[in-house]
Each structure stands twice: as C-alpha cells, then as structure tokens.
Amino acid sequence: MLFNSFEFAIFLPIVFLLYWFVTHRNLSLQNLLILAASYVFYGWWDARFLSLIVLSTLLDYTAGLQIRKAETKAKQKFWLGVSLTFNLGMLGFFKYWNFFVQSWIDAWAGLGVEMSGYSLGIILPVGISFYTFQTLSYTIDIYRKDLEPTKDFIAFAAFVSFFPQLVAGPIERATQLLPQFFEKRKFSFELGVDGIKQIVWGLAKKVIIADNCAVLVNDIFSNYETLPASALVLGSIYFAFQIYADFSGYSDIAIGTGKLFGFKLMTNFRYPYFSRDIAEFWRRWHISLSTWFRDYLYIPLGGSRGGNRMRLRNTMIIFIVSGFWHGANWTFIIWGALNAIFFLPLLLGGNNRKNLDTVAEGKTFPSLNEFIHVLLTFLLTCFAWIFFRAASATEAINYIWLLFDPSLFSIPTGYMTYLPYILVLLMIEWTYRTEDYPLKTVNYNVAIIVFALLIFIFGNFNLTEFIYFQF
C-alpha cells in the first residue's frame, strides 16, 4: 500500500479509530492491532512475501531469547550467527543473487569464456533491506548486552513490521523503538496535530516535488544523448531533488503516522542540501542508515582507532557497503565509492566534524563562504547522483562526458518547468532549517488548508512508487 494512495487514505483513519477507541484500554490489543494492520499494509503489495517477515520475526525472536539464555560465549555467538546468516542470506538471495551470477558471467566473458548462468526470476520483496537491518539490530544489541530480549512475541512482531516505517524506514534500533511497545501510549491534541502536519509536509514533498521532477528526470535520462549539456545538468539537479523529496517525504509521512499512534520514530533527514561539506551531508542524509552502519559495521571494524590507514579502510568499506545496500548494481557501488572519495580528504585533514551546527544559525542569509561551501557540496552530490540514477556505469560515464560541451551554456527550454517548485522548497526549508520539519511551528489550520490545496493543485497523482521501495 502506498502512502500516496486512496487505499491508505481509507486504511489510516480506520486503524487510527480502532486503535484509540476500541483497543485503547489494553496495550497487548493495541500491539495486536498494529501487527494485523502492518500485515494488511504489507500484504496489499504482495501477500506471499509476508512469509519472509514472519520467518524473520520468528527466527530473531528465538535467537534473541537463546542468546540471553546461552551460558557460554560460543553459544551466544552461534545464535547471533544464525540470525546474521538467515537475515543476510535472505537479503543476499533476493537482492544480490542475479547480480553476482551476472557479474561472474561478465567477468569470464571478459576473458573470452562463455558461461551460462543460473539467474532466477527473483522478485525483490519490498522493504527487505529495511526490516532485515531493523531485526538485526535487535539480536546484535542483545548479544552486546545493550538490550534485554522480549518474551512478548506480539510486541516483537509489531516492532519488526510496524507499518509506518516497514517498507522504507527510518530503520529503527530495537533499543529505541521496541521499548515503546511496552509503554502505555497517550494521545494528545498537540501530538496528533504534529503528526498530521508532518504527514502533510511529507506528502507535499512527494507529490509536488518528487513526482513532478520524476517526469523530467525520466525524460532527460532516457534521451540524454540527444539533449544539450545544460539539460543534463538540470537532469542531475532534478534527480537530486526527486530522490530527496521522495525519500525524506516518505520518512516524514512515516514519522507523522508514528506520532498518530503515540510512537516516536527517529529523524531521518535534516535538510541535507544545506550541508557545507560531505561529512555534514552524511550526518543529515538517511541518518538511520548511516548511523546503523556506524554502530554495527564501522565501530566493530575498529572505527577511528588504529590510525589513518584503518580509518581510511573502514570509511571506504562503509561507503561502498552503503552503496551496495541500495542495490545490486555497479552504479550504486561507484556512487558509494565516490562519496567515500569526497569524504576522505575531510577525514584525513581532521575536518570531518567541523560543521556540526546548522548553517548560518540565527542569521537570515549565509555568508559568502558558507554559500560557496553549500553550493560546492550540492554539486558534488549531484555529480554522484548521476551514477545512482543511471541504468549502468557506462551510461553514467557517457552522461558525464556529454556535460563537457558548449551547449552547457544554452538555455534548456522545456526543462525548466519545475525549477520554481524547487526554489520554493528551498526557501521554505531554509526558513525553517532549525526545525524537525518546516510545518512544525506553522499554525495547524494554515498548514492543512494551504498545503492540502498546494498538493491538490500542483501535485502529480500518477501514483509513482517511492524510489526507496526498490532498495
């Protein structure tokens, strides 16, 4: 079920009313309702793949209890290994099988050896990368003794499948989200208003910015060989805003929906395009994933201990793995590697934690220096996005090659339609860049009426799926 669908507009109020008016006296019943609603939400897409969630839930529930029960470190490791193997194995099979087989065949073909492959017609289950990471955090945290396992299966299953963030995050930590399933949830007018405003803001970004930009992005990337370089520049800028508005819009709707049910989900985006360097960008972009990699990969690998060589190695690893997490394609790996290359000079120079505050905080406009840094950082991300969006690495390189052309200085007529939309988004975000989301402090009546109208008037309702569903 898509957040921007008619079905969800019916589904959400029904679950909301049942939750607060029918099951509100009993926490277990509320959790059961969340579980049932989450399975309906997911099953709406393809009920067959619910079995994977159920399997993952059963296994990690058991693994969690067994890790705690185990008397020896070896047994604990065994059960952690079972959880890791199953979850990563499932992810590997559904997401990466065909990629590895094809890469293997291509590698041999490069040496002149023809091989037949065993690629399968595998459908990628929506959200598998998100919920496997979420459940992994549960078993790893128990192993690390950061969390006590739960015996309440329903609560645990509801935690794994919590519908607002099931298919595209934020990827919640068990330590943060699971305890909320055992606390009595209270509804307040302010919380409800806050949730609805965040949903409306997320929806506005999705249907006004992302889905409109998508039309031009698809056109430009499909016809890049025949278009002027200036249109190609716009293509990468539009894609930067498409993916941002799409993904952060989803996160806002997820977080807002969570609030309606009394849950606090983690912030996933904090105005990333106002970053002054790549390190700051990564502290503001897909925060739940980058912190997941930091906590469960970078630090276990040794983190920043052990000198520059170790830091370089670990940084490269997490960026490349992060790229690979997005999809089984060399384009994502190159995208990750590029970001690592942009990041490394900051790391080596000790400047990676220079910009921890918000740009031009307390001021209306940035200084020239800040503006230049923000612009350069944005251009670097746009450059990397070309690899992210292109169908293949060759296509991305051709696209970049065509940018170096005198037509770069032409006016890309016909492709400027949505620039005003982006400018308005930037102005709104700049004004409210210290808030969780721009509408947070805006009057409820104004937020709903004005933004609902804007969505209605300028939105594209062709029900485009969220980009991150494919990851």
Binding site: V193, N445, I457
Partner: protein, 336 residues
C-alpha cells in the same frame, strides 16, 4: 481526542469545499481538451454560440468531426461530439432545432464503435454536465427498461456519489490543472472559427489500429492475431439502438433530409478487421441500412471503405489531407 478529530474533520471539510468550488466554477481550467469541444457543441445547441441559420448540420462522432469539413461544404455547421453515441447526438440535436433555425439537411455519420459501446457517458457526458437532468433521467429509464449493461453501469451508486463531489474530477485536476485555461479557451475559439470542426490526430500518416480492431482482436503469444473471447460479432447496445431510431424519427418528423455517410478506416485497421469470423463491417452496414429501409428523404452509402494510412492523423481520424479528400468526394457525390 475528540477535539483533534473534530478540528481535523472541519479542516478537511473546508478543504473539500474549496476544491468543490474550484471544480464547479473553473472546469475550463483543468479539464483536458475534450471539454472545450463538448462545451462548444452544447452551447451551439442551446443557441448561445455558432451559426444559427446553417442549412446543413453534420451529426456524428469525432471521426465525422475530423473528416467532414464545414468550410468546404459551405453554410454548414458541425455538431459532432467526440465519443458521442446516438444518445448525445439525439438530445443535443433535439435542443438545437428548438433554439436554432432548423437545417434542410443533416449529414449523419456514426462509426461501428459508437453503436456497440459507450465509453464517454460517465467521463464526459455526465462529468461535463452535457445533458440536462431530465435527459439523463430518460437515458436511465431506457437503460434499465432495456437492461443494457453498457449504460446501467454508468448509473451505479459509486458513480452517483462520485459525481456529486469533486472526486470525480480529481483525475482531471492534476499537475497541469488550473493552467489549462489558455489552451482550452484557444480550443474553444478554434471550434467557433471552424464551425465545430476539429482535427484529432495531426500525423502525416498512421498505420495503427482503431478501437474496432483493438476491441475485438488481440495478438497471442506466438504473434498471431486472434478474436477476443465474446467479441466475435457486431452487437449493438440496446440503448444506442433505441436513441438511433429516435434520432431518425426526429429527423423524419422535422422533415430534414439525411445524407448518411460512412467514414473510411485506415487501411491497417480495415485489413485487420477482415480477420473477424463473422463479417463485422458488413453486419454494421446491414444494421444501419435496415434502419433506413422504411424511411424516405435520405440518401447514403453504407459500405465501409478505407483510405490509405497516409490520410490519417491517428489510427481513427483523418488528417488535413484526408479530410479534404473525403469532403471533396462527399461534395462530388451528393452536393454538386
């Protein structure tokens, strides 16, 4: 909790009211280009626009609208409506002769498509408020009396509720809505300047298949064309049949001469329809001919022919060259 629900409900209600008002007050600003064309023909029929004293009136669907040129015929008005069946044509012409000078001749053409089905009664006729309430009620009564599913489905409860609200118009009110006013107004103006004529496809040639083909035939996995299940014959909708006869009766009663015209198909579609197991085009011709058999004051040609693909601007509609060729042939045959 109740405060939150009430407050949010009131806001959503206010939002719905605003959208409802926009949808009712500014249809020209968000509908696609069909709207100004339908609107124009409605206003012509009501005597608010167009030639009030045209001696010849063209009645038909979009193929007749594109292919028969009022400017070449002289003193002619096209009252064709894109996607129209005999239902829309009957009621629109009925009010036309009340509000305008009665023509001597009607050039009448309707393709097989608009006899065997309707696909615009909900999406255009009802959404655009093309017909008056009593007309819609009449169609409803006839549809249920004759038990014609082509039409009864258009009166379902869901459709009724949707029509009451802006939601029926939401599909039309997306990315470019509220910015279509200029192009729609220009279309309306062009309709006025060309006495109700408009092209649909503007290509130099089209070898695609028209809806008669795609409604009845499909390609199987081996690339062979086959007839769709249950689509072996030319079957006229009962409501369309009813209003076709009523329209012919009206023309007879008003003593208006009829020139029945059969629009050509493009060669690609014509050839493909030969694959039908029963003589589809012949059945259509026979059906129309049978309706004229007992009547007088008409001439016409009932055989479906074809023009080469280069005369078509899309799979179904004649382009500029095609319309000139066809209209000149029409003049040569009936109006010299």
């Amino acid at each position: 909790m109740l405060r939150f629900i009430l407050h949010t409900g009131v806001l959503l209600g206010a939002f719905a009211l605003i959208i409802q008002a926009i949808s009712m007050l500014f249809p020209m600003s968000y509908y696609n280009q069909e709207y100004p064309m339908w609107k124009y023909q409605q206003e012509v029929a009501m005597g608010e626009q167009g030639k009030k004293e045209a001696r010849k009136v063209i009645l038909g669907d979009s193929r007749a609208m594109a292919g028969i040129r009022p400017d070449l015929l002289g003193n002619t008005l096209s009252l064709c409506v894109g996607g129209a069946t005999p239902v829309e044509l009957y009621f629109n012409f009925k009010r036309y002769i009340v509000m305008n000078q009665k023509p001597d001749t009607v050039i009448f053409s309707l393709t097989p498509l608009h006899f065997y089905r309707q696909d615009c009664f909900y999406h255009r006729t009802r959404k655009y408020d093309f017909l008056e309430d009593w007309m819609i009620d009449s169609v409803k009564q006839v549809a249920f009396a004759l038990n014609d599913p082509e039409y009864t489905s258009a009166f379902g409860l869901v459709n009724k509720i949707k029509l009451l609200s802006f939601t029926s118009k939401m599909v039309d009110m997306n990315v470019s809505h509220l910015s279509r006013y200029g192009e729609n107004k220009a279309k309306y103006q062009a309709m006025s300047e060309r006495n109700g004529h408009s092209f649909f496809g503007t290509k130099e040639m089209d070898d695609g298949y028209n809806l008669e083909v795609t409604d009845h035939l499909e390609m199987d996995e081996s690339g062979q064309w086959k007839v769709k299940a249950g689509k072996e014959k030319f079957v006229v909708s009962k409501v369309n049949d009813y209003y076709f006869k009523k329209l012919l009766d009206l023309l007879r009663d008003e003593n208006i001469f009829i020139v029945w015209v059969t629009m050509p198909m493009n060669r690609a579609s014509y050839d493909k329809l030969k694959l039908m197991p029963t003589p589809f085009l012949q059945d259509y011709s026979n059906y129309v001919k049978a309706n004229f058999a007992e009547r007088d004051r008409w001439i016409g040609d009932f055989e479906v022919g074809f023009y080469e693909n280069e005369y078509f601007g899309d799979p179904a509609h004649l382009n500029e060259r095609g319309s000139v060729k066809f209209t000149e042939a029409l003049i040569e045959k009936y109006f010299r």
